[in-house]
C-alpha cells in the first residue's frame, strides 16, 4: 500500500524532535561500531605489514610469538642471543639472497635502539613491500652515527646533526647510560606506521663500541675506553639478537627454515613472519574482541533508545492508528507502520554513521597517525556491510515490540480510540 510510507514519513516528521534524537543515538552507535571495525582492520593491516619482504626471521630458540615480539615490535627481551659465527654460517647458504643482523638491548629515552647494518635500509620492507625512505639526511656510515625513526625524531624534536646518547637496557636504572659515547643524528626516516618509526638505528659496530668497557651488562668501574679510540678495537660483534633472511626463491623457505631449526651449533628458531604475525594477532585478539563488544553495547543502548521512544509515543499515536483503521488500514498496516519507522531510523542511522566514518577516514589521518595507526581506508569493506546489515536487522527487531503493542492497542481501540 503506497499510502503507508507517505503517512509513516509525515507522521515521523511530526515527531521529528524525539525521532531525531533517537536517530542521533543510532547514528553515533553505528559510527562507533564502524569506526572500531575500520580501525581494527587498519590496525591488523598495519600489524601484519610491520615487516614484509623478509622470508624468515631467525633468533635463539624461543617461541615464535616472542621472537616476532622482540625482533619486529621491539617488545620484551630476547631470552638468548645467537652467535655471530652461527649467523655467518647460515648467511653463507647459497639459497639466501641477503640477511640483515639485528642487535637489540639498548634504548634512547624509552625508544629501542637497533644495531644493524646499512643493508637494513636496502632490504627491509613494510606494508605492501615498501622500502624505507629517508626524510632527511643519510644512512649511518661512521661508528657513532644514528638514523632515527620518524616518531623518535618528531616526539623528541631531533634534527640531523643533533647529538644523542644511548642507555643500556631500557634506561630505567641509574648509571647505565652510555653518555661517554654520544651519537650524531645523520638521518631521519619517513613515517611508516610500523615499529620502525619508534626505533633508533645504529651500526652493529656501534653496539660493540659502547659495550667495550662493559662486562656482564654493567660498566667496569674505573675503566673507560674513549670514543676516539674505539676504532683500535675489533668491533665485530660476538653475538646478535636476531636476523632477517631473504631468499632467492621463496620455494626454498621450508628447506631453509628446517635447516636453521635443526642447526647443530646452537638451538635456533626460524619463523615465517606472516605466520608468526598471525599467531601474535590471535594472541592480542582479545583486545580486539573487547573493543567490538563495547561498540555492540553502545549500539544496544542506541536501539533501546529507539524502542523506548517508540513505546513512549504509542499512547499519543492511538488516535492516529484508529484513524488509519477507520479509513481502511488493517492490523498488518499498523504493524507495518511501526516496523517501517524503526527500519527507517535504523537505515538512516546506518547511512549517516557510514558517512561520518568515511568523513573521519578522509580527514582524520593526522589524528590516527598520532596513535601510530595508518590512515583508514575510504572504501567500505565486506565486514562493514555485514555489520550494517546486522544493525538494520537489530533495528527492525527493536521495532517489533512497539509494533506488537500498537497492534494490540489498535485491536482494543478499534475505530474509536480511548485516548
Amino acid at each position: 500500500m503506497s499510502a503507508l510510507p507517505r503517512l509513516a514519513l509525515a507522521s515521523a516528521w511530526n515527531r521529528r524532535l524525539s525521532l531525531g534524537l533517537t536517530l542521533l543515538a543510532v547514528m553515533l552507535a553505528a559510527t562507533l561500531l564502524l569506526s572500531v571495525e575500520r580501525i581494527r582492520e587498519a590496525a591488523r593491516d598495519s600489524f601484519a605489514q610491520s615487516v614484509s619482504g623478509s622470508d624468515l626471521i631467525v633468533g635463539a630458540r624461543t617461541s615464535p610469538v616472542q621472537l616476532v615480539l622482540y625482533s619486529v615490535f621491539r617488545l620484551g627481551e630476547a631470552t638468548n642471543n645467537l652467535d655471530w659465527a652461527s649467523y655467518q654460517k647460515i648467511a653463507a647458504d647459497p639459497a639466501i639472497a641477503w640477511s640483515v643482523p639485528l642487535s637489540l638491548g639498548d634504548s634512547h629515552r624509552g625508544y629501542p635502539v637497533l644495531g644493524t647494518t646499512a643493508d637494513y635500509f636496502t632490504h627491509f620492507r613494510y606494508g605492501d613491500r615498501q622500502p624505507l625512505r629517508l626524510a632527511d639526511g643519510v644512512v649511518f656510515a661512521g661508528i657513532f652515527d644514528a638514523v632515527l625513526g620518524a616518531e623518535v625524531a618528531q616526539r623528541l624534536g631531533y634534527r640531523v646533526g643533533d647529538q644523542i646518547t644511548l642507555s643500556h637496557g631500557d634506561g630505567g636504572l641509574p648509571g647505565m647510560a652510555h653518555d661517554d659515547k654520544p651519537f650524531t643524528v645523520v638521518g631521519i626516516l619517513a613515517p611508516t606506521g610500523t615499529p620502525v618509526d619508534r626505533t633508533v638505528h645504529v651500526g652493529l659496530a656501534a653496539i660493540e663500541a659502547i659495550h667495550l668497557d662493559w662486562i656482564g651488562g654493567a660498566p667496569v668501574p674505573g675503566f673507560n675506553i674513549g670514543a676516539e679510540v674505539v676504532q683500535k678495537f675489533d668491533l665485530t660483534p660476538k653475538s646478535i639478537t636476531a636476523f632477517l633472511v631473504g631468499l632467492h626463491q621463496r620455494a626454498e623457505v621450508f628447506r631453509i627454515q628446517r635447516r636453521i631449526n635443526q642447526f647443530a651449533d646452537e638451538p635456533l628458531l626460524a619463523v615465517m613472519p606472516g605466520v608468526a604475525l598471525d599467531q601474535l594477532w590471535q594472541t592480542v585478539g582479545v583486545v580486539e574482541r573487547a573493543l567490538q563488544a563495547v561498540s555492540w553495547l553502545v549500539l544496544a543502548v542506541g536501539l533501546a533508545g529507539l524502542m523506548a521512544t517508540m513505546l513512549a509515543g504509542l499512547d499519543q499515536r492511538r488516535r492516529e492508528m484508529a484513524i488509519l483503521r477507520s479509513i481502511g488500514a488493517g492490523r498488518r498496516h499498523i504493524l507495518g507502520l511501526l516496523l517501517l519507522e524503526s527500519g527507517l531510523v535504523s537505515l538512516l542511522g546506518c547511512l549517516l554513521g557510514l558517512a561520518a566514518v568515511s568523513l573521519f577516514a578522509a580527514v582524520g589521518g593526522d589524528l590516527l597517525a598520532a596513535f601510530g595507526l595508518a590512515a583508514l581506508p575510504l572504501a567500505v569493506s565486506v565486514g562493514e556491510m555485514k555489520l550494517l546489515g546486522a544493525v538494520l536487522v537489530c533495528g527492525l527487531s527493536v521495532g517489533v515490540l512497539p509494533a506488537w503493542r500498537a497492534y494490540r492497542l489498535s485491536l482494543a481501540d478499534g475505530l474509536i480510540p480511548r485516548s
Binding site: S11, S326, G414
Partner: protein, 226 residues
C-alpha cells in the same frame, strides 16, 4: 422494494465470554439511501456497534450484512478493504491527522481505497468541491488540521467521510461539541451531501432532540436476547 444497506439479525457481542453483553440486538435494517438516527444512553453499546458495522469486531452470535455482504464471512484483511471501499466514518473527536492539511485529511480514504479514488473522479478536485460545499474556503483547505476551529474540523471530517461516495456514512456523535443552531446546520449539510451521493447515513447520538432530521430512529438499550 428498496434493498437493505445494513441488516443485523440476532446480534450478540461480549468483550469476554464471562462478561455481560456489550451489544445485543434482535434485528435492525437500514434501507439504502435512508438515514437512521441511532440513540441510547452511555454504555448502551453504540461505539461497539459501530466497530461491528466497520468489521473491526466480529459478533459472538448472529450476523451483520452490509451491502449484501456478511462481514463475518470475510477474512480480516478483506473486511479492512471492504470498510475502506464502502464506509465513511465521522467521529465525535473528528479524528483528523493534525500534521496533515485539511485537504490531505479529506484525501486519506482515496489513498487506501482505489474504488473510492475512482468514484471521486479527480480526488483532489472532489475534495476541494466537498470542502467548499461544506463552507470551507480555499485558504482553510491548505491549513494544517491542528490549526482549524472545532467547527471547521467537523466539516473536514464530514468531507473525508463523504469523498468517493461511500454507500454508507457512519457518524458517531459528531455534533456533541456544538451549540443547537450549529448542530442543526451541520446535520442538514451532512444529510444533503449524503443524499447527493446516494449514501445511507447512520447517525449515533445520545441527544434524541436530533431525531427529527432523520428518516428513522432506533433506540439501543442493551436489550436482552430472546
Amino acid at each position: 422494494m428498496t434493498p437493505a444497506a445494513i441488516r443485523i439479525d440476532d446480534l450478540l457481542f461480549r468483550w469476554r465470554p464471562d462478561a455481560a453483553p456489550a451489544v445485543c440486538l434482535r434485528g435492525l435494517q437500514v434501507d439504502a439511501g435512508k438515514s437512521l438516527f441511532l440513540h441510547g444512553p452511555s454504555g448502551a453499546g453504540k461505539s461497539t456497534l459501530l466497530n461491528l458495522l466497520g468489521g473491526v469486531l466480529l459478533p459472538e452470535r448472529g450476523r451483520i450484512e452490509v451491502l449484501g455482504q456478511v462481514l463475518g464471512d470475510l477474512p480480516a484483511a478483506r473486511r479492512d478493504a471492504f470498510r475502506a471501499d464502502h464506509l465513511g466514518f465521522i467521529f465525535q473527536q473528528f479524528n483528523l491527522l493534525p500534521w496533515l492539511s485539511a485537504l490531505e485529511n479529506v484525501l486519506l480514504p482515496c489513498r487506501f481505497s482505489r474504488r473510492r479514488a475512482q468514484r471521486a473522479g479527480d480526488p483532489v478536485a472532489e475534495a476541494r468541491r466537498l470542502l467548499a460545499a461544506l463552507d470551507l474556503a480555499a485558504p482553510v483547505q491548505g491549513a494544517p488540521a491542528a490549526e482549524l476551529s472545532v467547527g471547521q474540523q467537523q466539516r473536514v471530517a464530514a468531507a473525508r467521510a463523504l469523498i468517493g461516495r461511500p454507500e454508507i456514512v457512519i457518524a458517531d456523535e459528531p455534533t456533541s461539541a456544538l451549540d443547537a443552531a450549529r448542530q442543526d446546520a451541520f446535520i442538514d449539510l451532512l444529510l444533503a451531501e449524503a443524499k447527493a451521493a446516494a449514501s445511507t447515513v447512520v447517525f449515533v447520538s445520545h441527544d434524541q432532540r436530533l431525531a427529527a432530521h432523520f428518516d428513522a430512529s432506533f433506540a439501543l438499550t442493551g436489550e436482552l436476547p430472546a
